[in-house]
Amino acid sequence: MTTGPTLLQQQPTVFQQPTLRIEAPRGWINVDFKELWDARELLYFFVWRDVKIRYKQTAIGAAWAILQPLMTMLIFSLFFGKLAKIPSHGLPYPIFYYSALLPWMYFSGALQNATNVVVEQQRVITKVYFPRLVLPLSAVVGGLLDFAIAFSAFLVMMLYYRIVPGLAILLFPLFLFLAVLTALGAGLWLSALNAIYRDVRYVVPFLVQFWMFASPVAYPSSLVPEQWRWVYGLNPMAGVIEGFRWSLTGRGQPPNILLAVSSTMVLLLVAGGTAYFTRMEGTIADVV
């Protein structure tokens, strides 16, 4: 009968196969990017699965991706635009609101999905190992499909109103990337929190509502007095929304202090979220 495992120390550690070490987590965990990259196909499958299931279950299917921002845009145009007469950089109200609702709908959808994804995949998490970060990532990436559909409607609107975007449109991909990062940052926090403290998901709808009004969706950020602009920029979505509006329509706020502060917040959010999520991974597996 074998006793203590001393064989390991006697052999030279030159093995062709990679060695995996399993041990209790210590300190702040580093993200294993190689592992994450290796799991990219799994990420694709998770996204594919979510999209497929979502569209199989809804009666209207893809139309929902357009209906939501469209309806909101109509309400805003009517009440904030026509009736309250909020300034809109000279843009027609529908364009003004829709260009902001595009990133906003993506963000709120991704946030809701990310919050619930870990708990919903409880069965899979407790039976198989894969880099857990794939789950909030899949929620954030999955929202891009709906975004693309809503975006196509936006293009139609642009044609209708004969708005031609300026050179700023070249920066649009950057702002899209920033939107994804923001969703990821917030999503990481919420997905970990919800797995551990189950009442978090009841807070999220309220959080999203509040957050929307704190962001320049229904009004331009120029409404905020100059000296407070940077405080306003502490909202990571502020820079994203303004950036979308500016790059898509050519009007509105070009990048300034607001964007700088906002982007920094986004990076902090992502870094913090990743750290928290990876640190709590062990706990999540036990309590989910």
């Binding site: 209790a24 998490i125 062990g282």
Partner: protein
């Protein structure tokens, strides 16, 4: 010398149990955060002991403590233990599903885990889609799944329904498909947790067959099961986990024997009922014979000699020696008696030369008695119990294997083309009979 592919070193896992509510509410945490901000970021692993929280107590249990063992390349090792001993926890830690509280493990090579059948299956998706999804979750690349797709569907026998949503499949079909996907994982190390005990007989036979193939192809397998016959068939070594610790590890035969002894109730020595007379006393018993190093273990279905040593303190003129063999459930399997014994004072050996003991591997109990002229002088329920440790030849499933472990040879021979006359038919059957007996 083969490499160690799984090295487990003092692995421990502690869980918090108790009456605290299963899920914390954020509001409670936030309240506490205001009073002590640093605690908010402490990972809630149960290793941290003194959390002065008002709701719930701090009882912990160590599901695993100081578990250490090594597994070499190509070994098939069984993990046994009672329910709740910590086997699944151990597998979960090795599968990286949960993190250990203490100690560490090292794994060399690609590892696949089968902790459940149907991981990742979603009822709304079709069989085809689920194969891809499940395969990806288990660790196969898309190219790999594409390559093996036909094989998988073939193994599961669901070709006709592969594009129907899974919710329309029967449970059996779902399980077959799930196992088919898992069976085509080709990792170097495979961890399997009792998944072979689900499903109907046909399915289990198929699974066992596939497991056997995997084992023969040189892969390392760690296998949790309650089916002793399966363990005997597949595993060369066994690790016995009891209450979170390694109670024994070693060759299948001896560890299983110890395990079954511990599980059986009949190890209480029933010394009550022994005659008070010191005239006769059975002292000990043993298995004697060539190749029999262990005196209470039978390892062959060939001839065996069982010897009982008895101390006689008064002359016996018309003695009768009775012997019974009981199985672990107390069933009287065999009984015999030797009559008209004449024994002088002294130590005697009663020998039974038995040509074969074709019994199912397990624990058996001898009972011997000596009577003199109608009066019972001594009756002894022999201790220790006898272990029969022969290689299993019966049906792989415990509930079908029966009581015997008989060596046998099977052959099937075609009977001659028979005309309709019943007389000729009878002759034909007799011929077949004779042929069967000859071969």
């Amino acid at each position: 010398m083969s490499d160690v592919v799984i090295h487990v070193d003092n692995l421990g896992k502690r869980y918090r149990i108790g009456e605290r509510e299963r899920y914390l509410a954020l509001r409670d945490v936030l309240t506490r955060a205001i009073t002590a901000p640093a605690r908010l970021f402490a990972p809630r692993k149960s290793a941290s002991s003194s959390n002065g929280n008002s709701n719930g107590d701090h009882s912990h249990i160590w599901a695993l403590k100081d578990v250490s063992f090594d597994i070499r390349q190509g070994e098939v090792v069984g993990i046994i233990g009672r329910n709740g001993a910590g086997k699944s926890t151990l597998l979960k830690i090795l599968a990286r599903v949960t993190k250990p509280t203490s100690g560490h493990a090292e794994i060399r090579g690609r590892m696949g885990t089968l902790l459940e059948v149907g991981t990742g299956f979603h009822p709304e998706l079709s069989g085809r889609e689920n194969v891809f999804l499940s395969g990806a979750i288990l660790g196969m690349s898309k190219a790999e799944i594409l390559r093996k797709f036909d094989e998988i569907v073939d193994f599961a026998e669901v070709e006709r329904f592969i594009d129907t949503p899974l919710k329309h499949y029967s449970t059996g079909m779902q399980m077959r498909l799930a196992f088919a996907v898992a069976a085509h994982l080709e990792p170097e190390i495979l961890l399997v947790d009792e998944v072979l005990s689900v499903g109907d007989i046909e399915f289990q036979k198929k699974c066992l067959g596939k497991m056997g193939d995997v084992a023969k192809s040189g892969r390392t397998i760690l296998f949790v099961s309650h089916q002793m016959n399966q363990i005997r068939r597949l595993c060369e070594r066994v690790v016995w986990i009891d209450s979170g610790a390694v109670r024994a590890q070693g060759l299948t035969g001896s560890v299983l024997a110890d395990y079954e002894t511990a599980c059986s109730d009949a190890e209480k020595t029933r010394e009550g009922g022994r005659g008070k007379s010191a005239a006769v006393r059975f002292l000990s018993w043993e298995i004697v014979g060539p190749g029999s190093e262990q005196h209470h273990v039978v390892e062959t279905t060939g001839p065996v000699t069982v010897r009982f040593t008895v101390e006689i303190n008064k002359p016996i003129r018309s003695g009768r020696h009775g012997i019974h063999l009981y199985n672990n459930e107390g069933l009287n399997i065999w009984g015999a008696a030797a009559e008209n014994l004449q024994l002088d004072i002294g130590i005697h050996e009663f020998n039974f030369d038995i040509s074969t003991l074709p019994l199912k591997p397990g624990i058996y109990h001898w009972m011997v008695s000596l009577w003199d002229g109608g009066r019972e002088e001594d009756l002894w329920n022999c201790v220790p119990a006898m272990h029969i440790n022969t290689p299993p030849m019966a049906h792989p499933q415990d509930e079908w294997a029966g009581l015997l472990n008989m060596p046998y040879e099977f052959s099937a021979n075609p009977v001659q083309e028979s005309p309709r006359s019943p007389l000729v038919l009878q002759v034909a059957y007799a011929d077949a009979d004779a042929e069967g007996q000859r071969s």
